[in-house]
Amino acid sequence: MSDLSQITTHTSRLLRDPRLAWAMIVLLTLSAMASATELGGYLVFILALAAINLIVGVGLNILFGLCGQISFGHIGFFALGAYGVGIAMLGGWSFWLALPAAALLGAVAGGLLALPALRVSGPYLAMMTIAFAFIVEHGAIEWRSVTGGQNGLMGFMAPEFFGRPFFEMEMAILASFFAGLSLLFFHRLARGRWGMAMRAVSISEIAAQSVGLDPLRLKTVAFILSAALAAIAGGLFTPLQGFISPGTFPFFQSILFLLAVVVGGAGTLLGPLIGIAITVVLPEMLSSLAEYRLLFFGGLMLGVLLAAPRGVAGIFLRALMRDEGTPVRPSERPLAEVIARQAASQPLRVEGLSIAFGGVQAARDVGFTAEPGRVTSVIGPNGAGKTTVLNMIGGFYRPDAGSIRLGQELAGRPAWAAARAGIARTYQTTQLFEHLSVIDNLLVAAAGGRLGFLLGPPPDAPARERAEALLAFVGYSGPVGREAGALPHVDRRLVEIARALAMGPRVLLLDEPAAGLGKADKDALAGLLRRIAEAGIAVVLVEHDMGLVMGVSDHVVVLDAGTPIAAGTPGEVRSNAEVRRAYLGDTDYPGRPRTAPWAGERVAVLTTHRLTAGYGAAPVLEAVETTVNPGETVAVLGANGAGKSTMLRSIAGLHRPISGSVLLNDREMSRAEAHKIAAAGLALVPEGRQVFPELSVRDNILLGAHTRYDVDTEAEIEALLTHFPRLRDRISSQAGVLSGGEQQMLAIARGLIAKPRILLLDEPSLGLAPAMVRELYDALADLRDEGVTILLVDQMATLALAVADRGYVLEGGRVVKEGPAASLGADSDIEKAYLGAAE
C-alpha cells in the first residue's frame, strides 16, 4: 500500500510541475500543426474547427472555470469577431490587422456588457448574456448594408503571409497555433496571482473582499478576456469557412461552448481540450447519428452536472492529486518580521457609528479606539450589535452615520478598500477559500489586492516561506497543500487567522474566534492573540467566552441593544452595575413565581438523551440530558455561545443533531423533519420572533394552526387575545410593522394556537424594553399557571428562573448544573458562567 501511495505522490508531484504542462501544450500544438499538413480535405477542416472551438473554450474556462460566472451569450462575441474580420477584409484590410482589431472589438463589447451584468448574478447575469447574443444575431440580420443581412458575407481574399495564401491547411495550422497560445495563456494566468484571485472570488466573494480583492474588477477582467478570446476564434473562423451569415451563429452554440467546458472539467487546464474532443470531434465521427446530436449533448451535460461536477479532467486530477505537500515546518521568525510591519502605526478610531435596518437601530453612536499592540474587545449580550459593528468597520455595511479612521476615513468604503487600508478580519463561521489549498489561501491574501501584471509569475519561494512561517506562527501543523475545505474545525480557525495576518494588517478584527474550540485550543488561542498584539497589530475581538475576553483584553467595550454602555479594563467592566444588568437581566421586576410548587406527574413530555449537535466538525452541544414533564416550566441558562439556541433548534428539527435522541411523548424525533415535529405537538417560538412580516397578525396566528383541522378560529383567537391584549388593535396590520414586543407576543400566540404539548421559547426578552419584558413575563407566568408545558431559554437568567420550576445550566455545550429554579437562582456559578470568573 505504501508503495502505491508513494507512486501516486510522485506522479502527482510530476504532474503538478508547471514545466510538464508547458511541454505538453507545446507538444500537442506542434503535433496538431504537423498533422494539419498530413491530414487531407475535410479532416483538416475539422482540426481547424476544433482548434477554434478550443480557443472559445479556454476563454469560457477563464470566465466560468476560474471566476464562476456563467455566460449563455458567448456566441455573440464569436459572431462579433467573425463579422468584424469579415467586414474589415471586404473593406480591404489585411487579415493580420483585422484579427487584432476584432479581438479589441470583442474585448470592448465584453467590457461594456460586463460592467452592468456582473453587478447582478445568477439568473440575471444569464439573462444579460442571452439578450446580448440575440442582439448581435439580429443586428447581423438587420444591418444589411454592412453585414449583408440574411445572405451573409462571402468572397474573402485568403490571408497571405509573405506571399503564401492561407487556405484550409494553413488556417488549421494558424488556429492550432492560437489554440496552443491560449492554453499557455490560461496556464500562466491560472497559476499566477490573478488566476488565484479569480478562483478566490468564485469560491467566496465575502472572503475575497476581506483580503482586498475587488470582485467586480476581477469578474470584469475575466469577462473581457473570455470575450476577446471568443472574438479571436470568430476572426479565425471567417477565412476558414469563407462564408458567414447570421445562421452560422445559432444561439444554441453558446450552450455547446459551455457544455465543452463543463464536460471536460471547468477550471482545469485540459478540460476544454477534452470537452472539445467530445463536442466537436465525436459528432463528426458519428455523423450517421447526427440528428440525435442535441439529445446526446443535453443528456451528457445533465449526466456530468449530476454525477461529476468537476468534469472528466476533474475526475482524473482528483485520482492523481492526492499529494497534500509537506507539513508546516516550525518557524522561529517573529511575526513582526514575517509580515514586515513597522511598529507604532496609527490606531483605529471609531466614532459615532450608527446603522439601522428597516427601522431597527442595530447600532447607535458606537465609538472606541483600538490602539496598536493592544487587544480591544467588544462584548455584549446576544443581539447587542457586535457583529454589526465589525461589519461596518470591515466595510460590509455602510454606516448611516459616524467615522472609521485608520490614517484615512474608511466609513462607507467597500470591504476590499478597508482591507487594503490594513483591516483584516475573521468570521463567526470561517470563510476560507474552500477549494484552494491552505497555503494558497494565504498567498491570495498576501497579494492584498495588488495583483500586478496579468500574466505575472506565481508567488515566489520567499512568499511561500513567509506563508509557511505564518502558519507555523498560528500553530497550524498540517500539510500546506491540503484543501482548506477538508480541514478540521480548529485548523480552519487558525488558517483563517493566518490568512488575515498574511495581508500584513494594521488591525485584525476577530468575530467569535473561540466558538467551537475546546479548553486547550482556547488557551492556545489566547496566547496567539497576545502575540499578535505584541507584534504591533491592533486586535479587535468580539467573543462570547468571557474567560477568554477577560484574560486577553487590554480594553473592553460593552454594547447593549446597539448602544455602548460601558468601557474600561476587564476589571472595571466586570464590576459595572449596568453591565451586570445587561448580562444577567437584573431588571427591577422580579418575575412572578408559582404560588405553590409544581407537583405534577413525572412522565416526560420531552426528553433529550446524549444529544450532540454542531456545525461542521465542531460540536456545540455535547451529550445533553434534559427532561420536561407535563405542566412544568423549565429554564435553560448559560452564557452566549453555550449552546442554548442550538439545543432548541436541534430539538425542533431545524438543525440535524449529530447523535443522541430526542423523545417527544416517547416518540423518537431526532431524525424527523421540522414540520413533522411541529405536527407531533412541539412549538418553537424562535429567536428573533420570525413572524411572517407581510402577512396580517391574524394570518400569522392562523398559520400556527396549520397542522390542525378542528380549529374554532374565532373563539381561539379571542382566547389568545385575552392573553395578549396588545394584539387586538393590530389584528389586521401586517406583522412586519409591529414593535419588537408585539412581534414576540404574536410569535407566542402563533405557537400556542397549535395547542402544542410543549412550547419552546428561544430568547423571548431579547431586545425588548423593560416594560415590555415585564408584560411578556407576566403573560408567560399566566400560561404556566394554566398548565402549558414550557421550555424557556433566556439571557435574563434571574427573570427566567423566577418563572421556572426547574433549570439547567449549559456551559460549553454541556449541562454543568441542574436543579430547582430557586436553588439555581442563588448560585454564584451562574454569574461566573455569564461574566467570567473574577480572579
Binding site: F72, A126, I130, A131, G298, G358, G394, A652, F692, L695
Partner: protein
C-alpha cells in the same frame, strides 16, 4: 392597424406574463427557476394535441390531462434538475434546467415528429370585428385568461391555507417549517404550478401558432426576459411587464420590421437591468454577512 397590433401584442404579452409568473412562483419560494419553461409550454401544447387530436379525446378532458402532464413534468424537473444542486448551494441548476430543456425538446422531436401541426379551435376560425380590426375570439380571450390567472394566484395566496403556507415559506422558510409546513413540498408544488402555467400558455397559443417541438425555446427566453424586466419578486410585475413587452414587440414588428423586434426588446431588457437592477416592480434583498 394599431388596434390589431395591440391585440396581437397583448395576446403575446399575456403568454409571456403567464410563463414569467411561472418563473416568479418558483423563484419566490426557492430562489431557483426552471430554465426550461419554454419546453414546458411546448409540452402543454403537444400533449393537448396528442390527447385532443391524435387520440380524439374530448377537448376539456384533453386539456386537463395535458395540464396534469405538465404538473408531473414540473415535479420531475424540481426533483432531478434543481433540488440536487440547490441542496448543496450550487447554482448549476441554471445549466441543468437548460440541458433538461434540450433533452425534452429532442425527446418530443423524435416522438411527436418534426412537422409543425396546428391545433384546431372553434375560437380561432371566425375573426370578429374589434374597432375595425379583425381578431379571433381566442386572441381576445388570451389576455383575459392571463390576467385572470394572475388574479386567481393572488387570491389563492391571500385566501387559502395552501396559499398562505406558500407565502409563509417565501417570507420565513424556517419559521414556516416550525408551523408544520412541509416547505419541500411547497417548493415542489411551486414548480408544478409554474409548469402548469406554462402548459396553459402553450394550449392557448397552439391554435394560433403551429405545434412543434421547438416552439417554446424563444418563448421561454422572452418570458424570462419579461420576468427580469418586471422584477421576478413581484407577481403582478411579471404580468404587467409581459403585457408591456408583448406590446413593444408587436409595435416594433409593425412599424420597424420583424427583425428589429429582438434588437429592441432585448436592448430594453439590458437597459432596464442597468438602470433598475431589480426590474420595474421588484425589490432587492438585504445582504447578510
Amino acid at each position: 392597424m394599431i388596434v390589431s397590433t395591440l391585440i396581437t401584442g397583448l395576446g403575446l404579452g399575456a403568454m409571456y406574463g403567464l410563463l414569467a409568473l411561472g418563473f416568479h412562483v418558483t423563484y419566490a419560494v426557492s430562489k431557483t427557476v426552471n430554465f426550461s419553461q419554454g419546453s414546458s409550454m411546448m409540452v402543454g401544447a403537444v400533449l393537448g394535441y396528442t390527447f385532443g387530436v391524435t387520440l380524439g379525446w374530448p377537448m376539456p378532458l384533453a386539456v386537463i390531462a395535458a395540464l396534469l402532464g405538465c404538473a408531473v413534468l414540473g415535479l420531475v424537473v424540481e426533483r432531478c434538475l434543481v433540488r440536487p444542486f440547490a441542496d448543496r448551494g450550487s447554482d448549476l441548476w441554471l445549466m441543468a434546467t437548460v440541458a433538461g430543456g434540450i433533452v425534452i425538446d429532442n425527446v418530443v422531436l423524435f416522438t411527436f415528429g418534426k412537422e409543425p401541426r396546428s391545433l384546431p379551435s372553434t375560437l380561432a376560425t371566425e375573426p370578429v370585428d374589434v374597432f375595425g380590426a379583425g381578431a379571433f375570439p381566442l386572441q381576445l380571450i388570451i389576455p383575459v385568461v392571463g390576467l385572470a390567472i394572475a388574479a386567481a394566484l393572488t387570491l389563492v395566496q391571500r385566501r387559502t391555507k395552501m396559499g398562505k403556507a406558500m407565502l409563509a415559506t417565501v417570507q420565513r422558510p424556517d419559521a414556516a417549517r416550525l408551523m408544520g409546513i412541509n416547505t419541500r413540498m411547497v417548493i415542489a408544488g411551486a414548480f408544478a404550478l409554474s409548469t402548469v402555467f406554462a402548459g396553459i400558455a402553450g394550449l392557448l397559443i397552439a391554435p394560433l401558432f403551429n405545434v412543434s417541438s421547438g416552439m417554446g425555446v424563444i418563448f421561454g427566453i422572452k418570458a424570462f426576459a419579461t420576468a427580469i424586466l418586471g422584477g421576478i419578486t413581484s407577481a403582478w410585475g411579471c404580468v404587467i411587464a409581459g403585457l408591456l413587452y408583448g406590446c413593444v414587440e408587436a409595435l416594433t414588428t409593425a412599424y420597424l420590421g420583424s427583425s428589429y423586434t429582438q434588437i429592441v426588446s432585448f436592448s430594453l431588457v439590458i437597459l432596464v437591468l442597468v438602470t433598475l437592477p431589480n426590474g420595474l416592480f421588484g425589490h432587492g434583498e438585504i445582504k447578510k454577512v
